[in-house]
Symmetry: C2
Subunit: 229 residues, 2 copies
């Protein structure tokens, strides 16, 4: 053991995942019931202890996969929470990650297995420890990032309509947007590809599907283009 290190304290480390989904014009947060003491059966974020053989991101992905059945998801670190008594059991430092997932890929059967549920984001009640704080911090990061990076598409299926996309941004920013201005702005960017078919589930006329063209976006970005809503 490296000499100077050996005199130092060691700590439990966990990852907690703020998993967000979007459907029907609303943002939803995945919540489960804690499986062990202390605070067993209370509402909690999805979490797990860090293992010796994995990176932080790997641990977060592992937890995410366990609870959603999805891999290769958009994930970002929210921050690290280390107050001495934040965990009522032992001292645990927790690294929070948020994930934006496409609900169509979510494996519903896992809900029962883990005692989990989707809760409307603005109706989330008390969670254990500082988990509500983590959710708040996530929303504030999401709000500042979504305006300048095309994050939103992670919350939508591969094919989506413009009314859907708009309602997503309305949910994120808790505000109404002007339909014409929104369409103009997002289409002018040239990062959406109109599809030939329509979604008729929300109206009789149907709304054209679009796809986000990531390659085009990456190419544009290299020439100094900035996404901005």
């Amino acid at each position: 053991m490296t000499p100077f290190y050996i005199e130092q304290e060691k700590f439990f480390l966990s990852v907690d995942c703020i998993i967000l989904g979007f459907t029907n014009g609303k943002l939803y947060l995945l919540i489960s019931k804690r499986k062990f003491e202390p605070l067993k059966n209370q509402d909690t974020l999805m979490g797990g202890f860090l293992r010796a053989n994995e990176d932080l991101e790997e641990a977060a992905s592992r937890v995410l996969y366990e609870y959603t059945g999805i891999r290769d998801v958009y994930m970002e670190q929210v921050g690290t929470y280390g107050s001495i008594h934040r965990d009522e059991g032992e001292r645990v430092i927790s690294v929070a990650y948020y994930a934006l997932i496409d609900l169509e890929l979510f494996d519903e059967t896992l809900c029962k297995r883990h005692n989990a549920r989707w809760e409307e984001l603005d109706k989330v009640g008390p969670l254990i420890f500082d988990h509500n704080q983590m959710v708040e911090d996530t929303i504030s990061i999401l709000r500042s990032k979504a305006a300048v990076q095309p994050l939103g598409f992670n919350l939508l299926p591969e094919k989506f309509t413009l009314p859907q996309l708009q309602s997503l941004y309305e949910a994120i920013y808790q505000t109404k947007l002007d339909k014409r201005n929104f369409r103009k702005k997002i289409l002018e960017m040239g990062i959406l590809e109109k599809q030939g078919d329509k979604d008729k589930s929300a109206s009789k006329r149907g709304a054209f599907y679009y796809k986000f063209n990531k390659d085009k976006y990456d190419r544009l970005r290299e020439t100094g283009f900035f996404f901005s809503l």
Copy 2:
């Protein structure tokens, strides 16, 4: 010991501080020589191991005070770095914090004691582990925050001139700004207080001192005002 926890791994945790100062139109980073193996005497950020009886922020403040002699400094978490082999000794997860300090308050004598120095930010060479990454991440956070929050003032003395303030933003964004537009914008916000005296160190005519009025800023913010450059 709480039953389920006891089966879990524990980890070393450190904090690393990205300490930034501003003078003469340039941003500077505080760098020191590592005091122990591995990589002893290599360039490193200021860091320290987390102790059992302190919060993460306390640890960061402790390290900051040790190396600068300053307390009550603007500090924010940058992120947490946990790759398995990031530390070449043992596995250590590190939480990075950046601090913006007023160089006039800095205790120069501590440089010798810790083998530390101020290095021009864009001339910083290789640092140990992932410390260069931490610095990069800090700059990117600083750039996005400084445009919408009055962070800059933390890097200046209590009394500063408008040319100084402008050159600070020019250093942060690596760009030239128009003098008239800059002055108009910042003065219109109504968060600066012109002083009666001048700084004559940079010109014969001298430039008026200003102070940042935090109370006024806080009051404005409550009425929906947003700082933005």
